[in-house]
Symmetry: C2
Subunit: 329 residues, 2 copies
């Protein structure tokens, strides 16, 4: 039964308020990986944490912070929505290796090494050339391994991602992206990457952001579960999960911030274009509190066993995080 | 006559105090490109400017700030040492394109796109792979061109340097490095780079940092002037100047800061090694207030005409900066 399971959404960046938290609670989702940062640097990241501390205080009847998987069990028991944090960029550590541990202690459990562009650590998927993991990047990976901060390569380029998988002594994740075989996009991943990721115990979260999907906003639930089934045929079910990339109720300025940060004077349209610059249309089957349950039922209809659907909806994230968040001995 | 000329040292990072400023004044140097930042980010850079504002207040009998070449003429007339600022890294702009103009107005006249490592803008000379100018880097170059902030590629890698020369609509500089033909080092420059730089009106400042020189600390004045003569044979005299990279009276911690910044937990030895981790020994002919005059006389002895020696000692920097520091129309 869907409602009895631990359901984890491996990425959201919605407009956070009481009304949305209520909807999350009704959705049956146990825990959400919340993007706390796109481009914010260390100082600004602290303000984001402060803002979330206020949410935890204001909405303690709906949400609670997650630092480990014991917390997720408590959230399930208390019928609260667990919130754990990740950064889509390495901007929270500025240029300082020591800030990895500082941010981890503050509650930054997951961090992407780069967001679309070249970072100090690795190359993003929109750069023309990819020089892999940098000198600083190698040290950062070792340090993230040490303190139990999960490496996420969702927005990274091919060579950088393969090198990160290889250099990391612990499994890494691609929290929200789809296979290139289902929809070719700079943001999606090659079979080489997906196989290498999974072979090393990593995790792939399927994205529901229309620009990452076959047929974009016209992608059907069947298209989506077919993509999961095809990927499972390639690498097995135990590495597959969801990272919806759901960005509900956000104004266009937020999309522009995601795409442009502070680095661009000219408008950068990311996966969109000048003539298609706004948010993509919602998927009718994944736009409200019924979304996760729709996917669960879709997976069963696709032929997945109940246990497999449970793994994909949350069990795999749970196991991956339980191991990955522990500090290294 | 040496003393009548405008003498410009295109890079120093000495321990700044009254005693050293007095020595600079006696040396006959008219203006010095002072490194204000190695790894400092925006906020820390402001503190460096504040520190220098204090120096200008305390030592107004010895030094004055330079914002343009008219100021250099005033410095010469008043027998003060003119100080103009550059950053060895793009860290002062954090991740924000708009900080280029902000820093330029504050007095940051020159900025390297990268210091040894990969930056947000370009690849440094110690990275294994070089992916050239990044997406942000392209915008930063255009913005630096617009506001009249000089691009410096001294610590950048080959492809990034060639691309910067090419992408920049205005001549750029390599303020302190030597040709690889004289001493092979990751920090030194290929003939391809030097020719491309000069063909586009750029400027090369010869370094006196022993690790960049043939025979290191045993490099003779004749070795040094021979290197200049060989380079002049290749690209002419009008593109050649000095950027001594003089780091007098600095403790080892400063060397470690230059090499490690905040990015490395393990000690990085840069051009040195674990068994040779300290400052290189001074060159006997370039370690005090006689250094520049020694080079001047050495150039004459090498066969340079007096006018050519004047160009190399300061005239070329003057002309390059006079044009390069103007905002674009």
């Amino acid at each position: 039964m869907y409602k009895d399971q631990i359901i984890i959404d491996g990425l959201q960046y919605c407009y956070w308020d009481r009304s949305y938290f209520e909807s999350l609670q009704r959705s049956g989702i146990t825990a959400v990986h919340v993007t706390i940062v796109y481009h914010e640097m260390a100082r600004e990241t602290l303000s984001r944490f402060a803002q979330w501390n206020k949410y935890f205080e204001l909405y303690s009847d709906l949400i609670m912070p997650i630092m480990n998987m014991a917390d997720v069990k408590i959230a399930k028991e208390k019928k609260l929505v667990g919130i754990f944090f990740g950064a889509q960029n390495c901007s929270p550590i500025d240029d300082e290796i020591g800030l990895i541990e500082v941010m981890r202690k503050q509650g930054l459990l997951i961090m992407q090494l780069t967001y679309n562009n070249q970072s100090l650590l690795a190359t993003g998927c929109y750069e023309k050339h990819d020089n892999g993991i940098t000198r600083f990047g190698k040290q950062a990976i070792a340090e993230m391994n040490r303190v139990g901060m999960i490496i996420d390569m969702s927005h990274s380029s091919e060579i950088s991602t393969l090198e990160a998988i290889d250099l990391s002594s612990r499994p890494i994740c691609i929290s929200h992206a789809n296979p290139n075989f289902a929809h070719k996009a700079l943001r999606n991943k090659s079979n080489t990457v997906i196989k290498s990721l999974c072979k090393r115990g990593g995790l792939l979260g399927f994205s529901l952001y229309p620009f990452h999907l076959p047929n974009a906003s016209k992608c059907t639930l069947e298209n989506f579960t077919q993509m999961i089934a095809d990927t499972a045929d390639m690498v097995g079910v135990e590495h597959l999960a969801l990272g919806s990339d759901l960005c509900l109720n956000q104004p266009t300025e937020v999309l522009e911030w995601m795409r442009n940060g502070k680095w661009s004077k000219a408008m950068d349209y990311g996966e969109g274009s000048a003539s298609n610059s706004g948010w993509p249309d919602d998927l009718p089957w994944f736009k409200d509190e019924k979304g996760m349950e729709n996917i669960y039922n879709g997976l069963l209809k696709q032929g997945f066993k109940e246990k497999e659907a449970n793994q994909i909806l949350g069990g795999n994230w749970f196991n991956f995080l339980e191991s990955g968040l522990k500090a290294q001995n």
